[in-house]
């Protein structure tokens, strides 16, 4: 299976570990990713809350390149995924938006390039049955809280691959990898997203709520699939402690890092050292790392 890969800005910088582990997992599972040449930023929140025309035109510019490649697009970042899908949705449902985007980019576009999220590709194109066949190093007994955040399941017109209020694909993927995903109530609560830049105290309050609940529900780690969720819970964990008192540290891993280990990739191949909260103790307990290193 071939996909036009849209990494997005975060995956080239603060979430390079997400990119590395995504590429590693896809390679292990035989998914062929071709990076869209000279893709540009999706515009993210600053575009959709600042210039509505730009919020459609920026994604369309990259989607036109993918159209030339003749492959469906796969994004890993939840925000890029949402913005690319929203641009398609607006173009299909609003003829004026379409004309506007065509005037700006100078090319006709009908909104038909399929945009998929990494989780959608893994859970639905490949499927857990297929993934199970490749598991060399099951994460036996690892209790993980799957955290989807907002844009992987909402709004349902845009993110259409799982239930908007109770998504389960991450749990299914981690179960296939041998882990024991826990049940917890906050998996689609918001982390505060880019308020991290402007109103960090709000992000700390939300982060504390999430970390506390994950711990109380018995999680040893949290699995995420969004660069902003990851950095708001991982990098800000020290600030959260400062504001709300001691809570036991909990590592925040990209789901691709966990899957990668289960697929027999080494800790370097999934960039475990890039996490602010050390994940080694939690994983070493299950001898996953040793087995992964042996397998590498």
């Amino acid at each position: 299976m071939k996909y036009a890969f849209f990494p997005g800005c975060s995956l080239e910088s603060t979430a390079w570990d997400f990119e590395k582990s995504t590429l590693s997992v896809c390679a292990a599972l035989g998914l062929e990713l071709h990076e869209i040449p000279d893709w540009i930023c999706c515009g993210s929140t600053p575009a959709h809350a600042g210039n509505a025309s730009l919020a459609v035109a920026l994604p369309v510019f990259s989607l036109l390149k993918a159209q030339d490649m003749g492959m469906p697009v796969m994004a890993a970042c939840a925000s890029c995924y949402s913005r690319l899908r929203t641009a398609n949705y607006k173009i299909i449902h609003d003829p004026e938006e379409r004309l506007r985007a065509e005037r700006i980019t100078g090319r006709p576009y009908d909104g038909s390039v399929p945009v998929r999220h990494l989780l959608d590709v893994l859970a639905n194109d490949l499927g857990t049955k297929q993934i199970r066949k490749h598991i060399l190093n099951p994460l036996r007994g690892l209790k993980a809280a799957c955290y989807y955040g907002c844009l992987l399941s909402r709004p349902p017109e845009i993110a259409a691959f799982d239930n908007p209020e109770h998504p389960t694909c991450m749990e299914e993927l981690l179960e296939a990898a041998g882990a024991e995903p826990i049940d917890w109530p906050y998996k689609t609560e918001c982390c505060g997203a880019s308020l991290s830049i402007t109103d960090a105290d709000v992000v700390c309050r939300l982060g504390h709520k999430l970390l506390d609940m994950a711990r109380r529900a018995g999680a040893e780690c949290i699995a995420v699939a969004c660069p902003l969720c990851q950095s708001n819970l991982d990098l800000r964990q020290a600030d959260i402690k400062k504001s709300f008192g001691e809570v036991p540290e909990i590592p925040i891993l990209y789901i691709t890092q966990l899957l990668g280990l289960a697929l027999g990739r080494s800790r370097d191949e999934v960039a475990l050292a890039a996490l602010a909260v050390n994940a080694m103790p939690c994983l070493a307990k299950y001898e996953i790392l040793n087995a992964a290193v042996r397998g590498a």
Binding site: A49, G50, L54, T105, R154, D199
Partner: protein, 186 residues
Amino acid sequence: MTETLEWKDIAFLREVERRSGTPVSACFQCHKCSTGCPIGAEMEFLSSQIMRLIHLGEEEKVLKSHSIWLCASCEACTTRCPMGIDIAGVMDILRIMAVERKLTDPRTRGETFHRSFLSSVRRHGRVFELGMLTAYKLRCADFLTDLDKAPKLWAKGKLSLLPKRSADVAEVKEIFRKAEEEEKNR
């Protein structure tokens, strides 16, 4: 103290509905959006109250409020509204209108962040985080917040000193120019 508001004018409601493409007038104040809003605790006006203020034509109250800038665009309200109102989309339009009318709340850093982010995209085709954050901090005259994060990010290889450009920067500049033109005709 509670304040009694009277209906002012329909022009504001009409403009918000036209530009957001969503039926704000359909809101019947069930408050489901506000109940599920993660930022409700910090907001002076909850999302359902914003909808009501729009009905009443309270343009200044709405556009000057800090609440519209605290919305994290998590889409819980849009997903759950029983009347199908794209409430998060309305928040976007309100932010755009507040900037157009120069009414943004002085406590708001959102506009400054958005401006810094987009000028980075305009220049490089992608976000250059270090440059974007430096520009943002200069504009806010705040260098201390999160300064402790820089060495951590650096140690983890998460802070690039140089931008990673798209080769199509000239075309990106043209997209920005045309998008700004299009916005004037909305």
